[in-house]
């Protein structure tokens, strides 16, 4: 199934062989929330992303899968401006990440521009990356106060709501070092949500956890996916979770999207041999 | 600033004399520091309890008091107690002793880095204590700490100017003598300062390269 017919495939999803551009959701170009245009990223001589194209419309939940080293993390890090693309353009909510218009000319983005577009994104890391020297509450309130200019009280109030949501209201004065991995990850999710991002980037958020702690975190994310409007880009090896929450699964290999589609289709009857191989190995 | 190149010309031969003295003092005191440091380290690791305590206190004391005052002490006080050392010997002993307390720590770190299994294997082969130290442990320990020791040699180089206070005519001493005779302080002190940078920068660069090489 050629990609240019993808939009017609289902109501919410595009799918199929990704020779052209992978598109998740429907709408006009103006509605696109995330857009990768011929993005290439190299580390030295290693081309990790090779002229990658894809789009995501708002409120969609996308899962990225693919073998180790295929560039999934790199995509999230590019979106979070932790990396810069070597070629191509990334656009979030209509604004290019790495360029800005000044006096009618496109110039490399300054710190201010980058911070402005970064406001759209929140990220949760595999290793939690909570700030060990701040209490749980402070971890969550610090950025809203410093970046969004909220008052401490307001930020704390909202943080407590979020902590309530992640089931850790009573641990707000604890330091992260005292929490289990699962609890830390839930705090990290709350911390990312406190900034009210449009897109939540999740990079293997359960793979550093002991098996018995994984379920709690995944349940929380399912809840968030169900009850909020937030767009999610999610790298995970938890296929049942991916099936539950995703509108679309994208399979990466060798720097390209080699296939994408609705999870039922992708997990049930993938078209590509490579996808089938990969799934049979991880399922 | 009135810079006088002829003063530099006049000073260079004296600088060469001073450099020779600096080199001698450095070489001898480095040897002393390496040797004594090893003694402290081994004594603290496997000496009898009666030795370990005093050695610990002594090295802490030396390490935490100024070399300059120690030099004065060696030069002026020891003779009152019947031990007279020449200026050069005072300098070498002072510098060597002072830095031996640093090299002792380096050796200690190196010795502790030798895996326990090496001690056990040596014991299992019935090697004597002396042999175990000499053939098994120390060669491995010293290999890992060689760059750190080298760095201390550079630190010692930079402390050799202190020896002039007891009359060792090293480079700074020559500069002082020269400037008190000719009053060309600017040139003499500047030349010595540059000489030190020229000596120690490449040396520490070398050490860092060596370190990186060994770390690999």
């Amino acid at each position: 199934m050629p990609a240019d017919t993808a939009n017609a495939y289902t109501d919410t999803d595009a799918g199929g062989r990704a020779q052209g551009r992978a598109t998740v959701g429907t709408g006009t170009t103006a509605d696109e929330l995330i857009r990768f245009d011929r993005v290439t990223k190299r580390f030295g001589s290693n081309t990790v992303l090779d002229s990658l194209d894809f789009r995501v419309f708002p409120k969609k939940h996308v899962t990225l899968i693919g073998p180790s080293g295929s560039g999934k993390t790199t995509i999230l890090r590019l979106l979070m401006t932790l990396l810069k693309p070597d070629e191509g353009t990334i656009t979030v909510d209509g604004t290019p990440l790495s360029h800005e218009e000044r006096n009618g000319k496109l110039v490399p983005a300054g710190e201010k521009h980058v911070r402005e577009v970064r406001k759209n994104m929140g990220m949760v890391f595999q290793q939690f990356n909570l700030f060990p020297h701040m209490s749980v509450l402070r971890n969550i309130t610090e950025a809203p106060v410093q970046v969004l200019g909220m008052s401490r009280d307001e930020a704390a109030e909202r943080a407590l709501e979020l902590l309530d949501m992640v089931g850790l209201k009573d641990r707000s004065d604890t330091y992260p070092g005292r929490l289990s991995g699962g609890q830390q990850q839930r705090v990290a999710i709350a911390r990312a949500l406190a900034m009210r991002p449009k897109v939540l980037l999740l990079d293997e958020v359960t793979s550093a956890l002991d098996p018995e702690l994984v379920a709690g975190v995944l349940d929380l994310l399912r809840d968030i996916a169900r009850t909020t409007d937030i767009t999610m880009l999610c790298v995970t090896h938890e296929m049942s979770f991916a099936r539950d929450i995703s509108d679309c699964v994208m399979m990466f290999d060798e720097g390209k999207v080699i296939e994408f589609g609705h999870p039922e289709k992708m997990f049930g009857d993938p078209e590509q041999e490579r996808t089938r191989e990969f799934l049979s190995a991880v399922l | 600033m009135n810079w006088d190149w002829s003063a530099v010309d006049a000073f260079l031969p004296r600088l060469a004399d001073g450099l020779l003295v600096t080199a001698q003092a450095l070489a001898l005191s480095a040897l002393l520091a390496f040797g004594l440091g090893l003694v402290w380290a081994v004594a603290q690791r496997s000496g009898p309890a009666l030795v370990r305590g005093p050695v610990a206190v002594f090295t802490e004391f030396i390490r935490n008091t100024p070399l300059l005052v120690q030099l004065f002490f060696l030069y002026y006080v020891l003779p009152e107690w019947g031990l007279t050392l020449s200026a050069m010997v005072t300098g070498v002993v002072g510098l060597g002793l002072h830095y031996s307390t640093y090299t002792a720590e380096v050796y200690r770190a190196g010795i502790e880095g030798v895996p326990r299994g090496q001690w056990e294997a040596a014991t299992a082969l019935s090697l004597s204590r002396g042999r175990t130290w000499g053939v098994v442990i120390l060669p491995q320990a010293i290999r890992r700490v060689a760059p750190a020791l080298g760095n201390y040699v550079i630190a010692m180089l930079k402390d050799t100017p202190m020896l002039f206070v007891v009359g060792v005519m090293e480079m700074l001493g020559e500069a002082r003598q020269f400037s008190s005779e000719t009053f060309l302080t600017v040139e003499a002190v500047t030349v010595v300062g540059i000489a030190f940078i020229l000596l120690s920068c490449p040396a520490s660069f070398l050490m860092r390269t060596l370190e990186r090489r060994l770390a690999r």
Binding site: - | Y76, P79, S86, A87, G167, R176, Q177, S180, E181, F183
Partner: protein, 269 residues
Amino acid sequence: GCARVATGNDGDGGRLLEQLRATGTVRLGLAGEQPYGYIGKDGRMTGSAPAVARRIFKELGVPDVQPFPTEFGSLIAGLNSLQFDVVAAGMYINPTRCEQVVFADPEYQMLDAFIVARGNPKELRTYRDIAESGARMATGIGYAQIEYAREAGVGKVTTLPDQLAGLLAVEQGRIDVFVGTAVTARNVVRETESTRAEVIDEVTPHVDGKPVVSAGGFAFRTPETTLRDAFNRELRKLKKSGELLEIMRPFGFTADQMTDLTAEEKCRS
């Protein structure tokens, strides 16, 4: 205050005297050498030069003197780098030094002396003896005696921080002879009640084959001739009235050592 701007050489004789009068304090550079300027057993500054300076600066309207003890070899550098205002260390006046600083007229004249081991085993009585016997000689850093020794052909001269170090070095056999000014050498041996060293008095140095009588005085930075001249005027008054000897006598000076030489003469010779 942290940084001070130097008075600089503005060619008009300097304004240091005005400044000193304004602050009321003058800082004296001392070398810690008896009897010229040193810290006494009671912990206070004493010595002939501070005593004279105190007297004269009072006359000049500067009531306070502050000691700045340093090494002899650092005195001129310290003066020129503004660490103190006057060298009050009984410094010998000679042509080389006159190029660096301006001297007041000498307040004393003096011959040199040797500190040697008791009984003078190497029989050292002149600089030439040292040169010929190859004895190990030491003196202070920057002492004029280095030049005198060179003139006499002494090859290697060790330098030590002060005369006490010199005395100890002789007692301990590190060196054979320590050379200093006559009063210095005599005083240090007497004060320490040394039993192992003695003083050879009244050694006459030679320069260009001619005997030299050394004379020492106060030194000022080159531009400060106004201050120097004012100082000289007061000094001459003290000499004339004989008060100078009275001030200096407690430190071991005698009438022989009073002098009418001028700085100008000593700078020429």
